[in-house]
Point group: C2
Chain length 238, copies 2
């Protein structure tokens, strides 16, 4: 009986933390969309909101970490339960980093507002950001549902984001070669594109965590993709 | 007596894991130096060694994570002991990411070997990499010695790395504006500079972990620095 009681108490604790993960995920999704919108519409006020909002995201990660530590100390979980609680720490860390990238995008909005506009790029970046936000939503859904199949779908979808990045990279190179005045804005826009591509990688990491939790092994796709990275003369991971 | 026995058993487990952290740190330090050397000397063989060596670093992180989980499950540590064992997971994750950046630098070596050389940049990048490697060495030393003062020194030192990055960023902009043929190589060199600056941030995170472990609070420096980031029209964090 007492084990049963402890186990169900652990489940309640875990659900409470997962609820906070979902809350954090919602905040990060909003930050991605708002940052991309502020970039496209040059909305400095919205950009400032994203920057200010990141503090709440960071705070929530701290809370989740403390809560996870508290549960480990209190329930002394083992095996799968411990794996679950440790995944909470990794997933909240990934969300925090995605939030940082969104904040960084918002910060560059104010920088780019003072620079010549580069036709169409902001719209393409916003499309890319929407793709990543959709992947993040799916990754968190498959996490709470322990849905490895959906997780594999999210991992596969990252290739689209990589393609969008590669297309933008070549576009920026062209713009810079056409007109030196494009070099500085394109360097910033390129950073944003690269950081958005990295957000996709972090979402992929979350999905990989889910596959690991459900199946007990990390998907090969991750390793294959890793090995392909940076070998193209114009593209790179990290 | 039994608590005493358990506690000392935990200490032995923790020491064993920390020894693996130091081993991983040594591998990552070597990867940083070799990657930077391969970039400067265009040594494709050395670059390939760095790329191949990253797999061992990733494997070691997995081992450290499993070992930490095993210790948590076996010893059910609480309070400071739990904080210590969780810090192992965070530090090995930071080391793994620094290793990825070194691998990425090595990958770009083969790309840059086919592109026109940009005078002096590789030498400056290698200097920057040496600075980061020195910081990493100190960060790991202060971790095993629980030396918060040295950790604060490491955190402060990151400003030098940021300055080196800023100088390089402006240099690359100039090269690109002078001659469009410099644009593609400078984009790659700039990535390497940015990734090296990020290595410095990750080393800073490790040092911050140490300060937190010893003093129980994260240094304000980190937060202040975070707030300054990306507001300069040519510089950015993340």
């Amino acid at each position: 009986m007492s084990t049963l009681h402890i186990s169900s108490a652990f489940d309640r604790d875990l659900e409470a933390i997962q609820a906070q993960i979902m809350k954090m995920g919602g905040m990060v999704e909003a930050a991605i969309l708002d940052a991309a919108k502020s970039l496209e519409t040059r909305d400095l006020e919205l950009a400032e909101q994203v920057r200010a909002g990141d503090k709440a995201i960071d705070k929530l990660e701290e809370t989740i970490n403390e809560e996870a530590a508290r549960v480990i100390a209190l329930r002394a979980p083992t095996a799968i339960d411990l794996r679950l609680i440790l995944s909470v720490i990794k997933i909240s860390a990934a969300l925090e980093r995605i939030g940082d990238y969104a904040k960084n995008m918002a910060k560059r909005t104010s920088v780019l507002a003072d620079l010549p506009e580069v036709q169409g790029s902001q719209t393409a970046l916003r499309r890319m950001a929407r793709e990543v936000q959709g992947m993040l939503k799916d990754a968190l859904d498959c996490y709470v549902q322990r849905d490895a199949a959906l997780a594999m779908k999210v991992i596969a979808q990252d290739a689209d984001v990589d393609q969008m990045y590669n297309a933008l990279f070549r576009e920026f190179l062209t713009f810079m070669m056409e007109d030196p005045r494009n070099i500085t804005p394109c360097m910033h826009l390129h950073f944003i594109a690269k950081n958005t591509e990295r957000m996709g990688d972090l979402v992929t990491n979350i999905a990989e965590q889910v596959v690991y939790l459900v199946t007990g092994e990390t998907p090969d796709e991750a390793r294959q993709k890793e090995d392909r990275s940076s070998t193209d003369s114009s593209i790179s991971k990290v």
